[in-house]
């Protein structure tokens, strides 16, 4: 099975806590902090589909595939 090293960073200043990334991630990677900020809870499940980046209305998510074997 392909193993990817993925880095997800959340720009807390831009994030408006709308919840779309958490709700619509197909792999359920995100959980929510108390104020709604997305937390990367299950990075292992991430398939780097990139939808969270595109769904975010505020350019607050950066997803990088660092390595792929």
């Amino acid at each position: 099975m392909r193993k990817k090293t993925i880095a997800i960073s959340i720009n807390e200043k831009n994030c408006k806590r709308c919840g779309y990334c958490i709700e619509f991630c197909p792999a359920k990677v995100y959980g929510a902090a108390k104020d709604g900020l997305p937390l990367v809870n299950e990075l292992d499940k991430c398939t780097s589909c990139g939808f969270c980046e595109l769904r975010c209305p505020d350019f607050a998510i950066t997803l990088e595939v660092i390595a792929s074997e």
Partner: protein, 278 residues
Amino acid sequence: MTYKYTDYLKTEAQPYMWCPGCGDGIVVRALAEALAELQLPPHQVVIATGIGCWGKADDYFATHAFHGTHGRALAFATGIKIGNPELHVIVLMGDGDAVTIGGNHFIHSARRNIDLTAVVVNNYNYGMTGGQYSATSPLTARTTTSPRGVPEPGFDVCALAETSGANFVARTTAYHVLQIKKYIMQAIQKKGFSLVEVMSPCPTHFGRRNFAGGPLAMMKYLKERAVPKSRFDKMTDQEKIDHIATGIFVDKERPDFLKVYRELNPINQLADQGGGNK
């Protein structure tokens, strides 16, 4: 030079002014990605907007930009395009700007088939001014100026464009992020009047007043109720009220305004004589 989507945006202006959960930022992303995939030089692109939340997008692009009066973006854009036909002119309008106050310019721009790309973000109300109803608000919807329900049905924006003669007409929603980018790319590349309508959540106003279940409710509605047109066409009238037809409705090659104009009015050798602004 390879352009990235960030080359088209003023990242220093982020976070943008839109409410949490507003679809406008999603469309900005899709538009910037489309421009990058087409590798259009930013100085050959003009973003022309009108009034409203989506109309604020002119402040957020690093391309040329224009912000005009309510409903008239297409008319300004017509001049911008004819003034320099090399430009890619992309007109951003909400449902108020495009088909309420702007209705007349909308149908004439499509009829005239002026080579513009219109990206209409339709959130079913006037969000910026506090959630009053617009010409796309559905019958009986609750808005701040229809506390007992909107007494008029809303326009089918795509049907208006299609009937008026637009070369490219497509609809999707703020949920369908890949489709937004794909349709915008096709619209930009298409000569003549191209429309991409994006149904979008307004969590603060229309969404809050018409969908139970919190800020995510309207986006969920768009996700669940969007169906391809072929499926929509087979639905009953009642089902149609509760669903949104998406897809490409028109994709044709009628010659655009300037092409026809030049065929009828060929430039003769006087063209390099005097005047002008070179």
